[in-house]
């Protein structure tokens, strides 16, 4: 069974597939669906909305499968009590991304949860291991939402080499199918973390039109930058930027970020109004370059099943990746 890895054993799951903690849209429903299909769902704690976190962790109290809870580290650091709420839900793992995990490592481990850290450079991987990380996620710039500049093909083997077998490494960024999982295992990863693919799933708590826009996009329709963060008056620390589908709003402001900052009050108000009105010509759909591989909105369990079947066939040499892709498209 080629897909059993260090990671699956550690997390107690059947398949090395993790769903990304997409802030407030990866809710308990998606997390449970991924877990029941044999993957590992991670709740999108994001910036830290206490009421949302309490509501979603309450739903997970009855979960019969292992699950994780993720946070944006630098934002969660402003209200560390959120970590207590999360730990009280007894997650198998806490995933920390974007910021120094060291202040939180000991509490997470003392509570009996594993620490998963998402990293974009070797320096961050070192900080993560110093914080006691049990699993590293190497994230490439292809990823949707926040990330940094190095590509998946570059950062995954670099972090695999850096980890040198001490902890399993999970690949993220630009992946959406079994070919991606097989390729990442070739690069030495123990599994994959997928965001955009699960964004376009039945259980993701986001508007249907946003999901449809992902189905309609190609990989060249995304761009990484700071426009959407500035438009929400959120100042992210360097080196992190956000990848989203290109829309009228990003076309208008990319390259004119200084002007945007000078007009931030107006832009933010307009942006918030557009978001309420579900106008995705202005509101962002935070998707990665793998958007071009996504053509439907199935239940999360079906996504996990497809990826596992494809990857197993490719890796056992039973199926040629190029031939498989055509059957995937016509499916």
């Amino acid at each position: 069974m080629p897909l059993e890895t260090k990671l699956t054993k550690m997390l107690g799951i059947r398949h090395p597939i993790l769903s990304a903690p997409m802030a407030t849209i990866a809710g308990a429903r998606l997390v449970e669906a991924v877990g029941e299909a044999g993957g590992f769902g991670i709740l999108g704690g994001g910036y830290g909305d206490k009421a949302w976190l309490e509501q979603e962790t309450a739903k997970l109290k009855s979960a019969t499968v292992p699950f994780g809870i993720g946070f944006i580290t630098w934002s969660m650091a402003k209200q560390p009590e959120l970590l207590d709420i999360a730990l009280a839900a007894k997650p198998r793992a806490i995933m920390l991304s974007f910021g120094d995990p060291k202040p939180f490592g000991p509490r997470i481990k003392a509570a009996g949860s594993l620490l998963i850290c998402q990293v974009q450079t070797e320096e961050m991987a070192k900080d993560a291991l110093d914080a006691g990380a049990d699993i590293l996620i190497a994230q490439g710039t292809e990823a949707g939402g926040h990330g940094a500049s190095r590509t998946t093909l570059d950062i995954v083997p670099a972090i695999v080499d850096f980890a040198a077998g001490r902890v399993p490494v999970v690949a993220a960024g630009g992946l959406a199918d079994g070919r991606g999982l097989a390729a990442m295992m070739m690069l030495g990863a123990s599994g994959v973390l997928l965001g955009t693919r699960f964004y376009a799933s039945v259980e993701c708590e986001v508007e249907e039109e946003a999901k449809q826009r992902i189905c309609a996009a190609t990989g060249g329709n995304t761009a990484r930058g700071v426009v959407f963060d500035l438009s929400r008056s959120i100042f992210w620390p360097a080196p992190f930027t956000l990848r989203a589908l290109v829309n009228d709003h990003s076309r208008r402001w990319i390259g004119r970020e200084v002007e945007l900052m000078q007009n931030m009050a107006t832009v933010s108000a307009d942006y918030a109004a557009a978001k309420r009105a579900r106008n995705f010509d202005i509101a962002g759909v935070f998707a990665g370059e793998a958007a071009g591989l996504i053509h439907d909105i199935p239940p999360a369990a079906e996504i996990v099943g497809r990826i596992v079947t494809e990857a197993e066939q490719i890796m056992s040499g039973k199926q040629n990746s190029a031939v498989m892709s055509r059957t995937a498209v016509t499916r």
């Binding site: 199918d177 390729a183 071009g292």
Partner: protein
């Protein structure tokens, strides 16, 4: 374990599905011969040489190996120099001229990157390379028809799915999917938006889904695991450049070789300063201080003209401040070993990786 996809091996009649990237200015027949001896596909870049020189290069390769040959051309639309822009560019560079004791108004020979034309087409008709590849799209239909009439397999480069579809519809037999990691000039021709160029990992499966012809992955691939990963994504071959730059047979000058040896994963950036078209290379002084992207640069290849004297003057001082250091993000994975040996090592490592995971 065999290669999971033999289409490129069988089509090109090569031992390993590994293509030497046609790195104009950095390689010539010598390394092409070595790669052929190692079982890969030798490439001869013609973007910076004359038709006569191209003839000579193919003959040298033919004398030494019986392998098929890939002859590579640029097919940008040639534009004349724009005097007003040239003047602005000269002014921008004037402080550097003075610093090096050069007259900012000196007469300079124009930089030349000749696009594929009738003269080059005659070389193809005469010497019949088995594979002819193009960067920046395809030549005009009349010329392309003549190339195809020689029986050559036509290969071209796509940086987005839309370009891949266009290339297939317009006659390409094989498509190179060039991810953002790749060194040298971006092959982009239906877009000029650098920010939206996908990485190899996201691009390859999407191109594989979009076209019926075999796809070769390029960009960021420099070792066995990268090759194995590319095949898992549906590629039928890989094109590798940076990994070969420090082979003894490459024509990279000693100064550049040193910079490449020191380069890290984050040492490269996409710039338009050196030639007027976006290309990835190791950051040097002019890229840092004037670019990496400068809107005022003259069009391709004219921005290189005014940089010529500066490059020569700086190189005499042991500096690569104005020299093109084209390389991709995997540059640090390059090794100093003979190219034939490297080709075999890459293929062996890829096969070992694939069979280990299959067991």
């Amino acid at each position: 374990m065999m290669w999971p996809d033999r289409r490129i091996i069988d089509l090109f009649k090569i031992e390993f599905p590994i293509l030497l990237a046609p790195m104009a200015g950095a390689i010539d027949a010598e390394i092409a011969i070595a790669v052929a001896e190692g079982g890969g596909l030798p490439s001869v870049p013609c973007a910076t040489i004359s038709p006569e020189k191209a003839r000579e290069q193919i003959k040298i390769v033919r004398q030494r190996v019986s392998s098929p040959i890939n002859l590579n051309f640029f097919c940008h639309k040639a534009v004349g120099a724009d005097p007003a822009r040239e003047q602005l560019w000269r002014q921008r560079l004037a402080p550097y001229y003075r610093e090096h004791g050069l007259d900012p108004a000196m007469t300079i020979n124009a930089a030349s990157r000749a696009p594929f034309d009738a003269a080059f087409c005659e070389v193809v008709e005469e010497l019949k390379p088995e594979i002819v590849s193009f960067h920046f799209g395809l030549p005009e239909p009349g010329l392309l028809k003549r190339v195809k009439a020689t029986g050559a397999i036509v290969m071209a480069c796509a940086t987005i799915v839309r370009e891949a579809i266009w290339l297939e519809e317009n006659g390409a037999d094989v498509i190179i999917a060039q991810g953002a990691e790749a060194g040298g000039h971006r092959g982009m021709f239906l877009t000029d938006n650098i920010a939206e160029q996908p990485g190899t990992f996201a691009l390859v499966p999407q191109v594989v889904d979009a076209v019926k012809v075999p796809v070769i992955a390029a960009g960021g691939i420099a070792d066995g695991r990268g090759i194995a990963a590319a095949f898992a994504l549906g590629a039928a071959g890989v094109q590798i450049g940076s990994a070969y730059l420090r082979c003894p047979e490459s024509k990279v000058i000693a100064l550049t070789r040193k910079m490449l040896a020191q380069a890290m994963d984050d040492s490269t950036v996409i710039t338009n300063v050196l030639t007027g078209r976006p290309a990835r290379g190791v950051v040097n002084r002019v890229m840092r201080e004037v670019g990496p992207i400068a809107p005022e640069v003259p069009g391709f290849p004219h921005s290189a003209t005014a940089l010529g004297p500066l490059r020569q003057a700086a190189e005499k001082l042991g500096k690569v401040d104005f020299t093109s250091l084209w390389a991709g993000q995997a540059v640090r994975l390059g090794r100093e070993m003979p190219a034939a040996e490297l080709t075999r090592a890459l293929a062996g490592a890829a096969l070992a990786r694939m069979s280990k995971l299959a067991s």
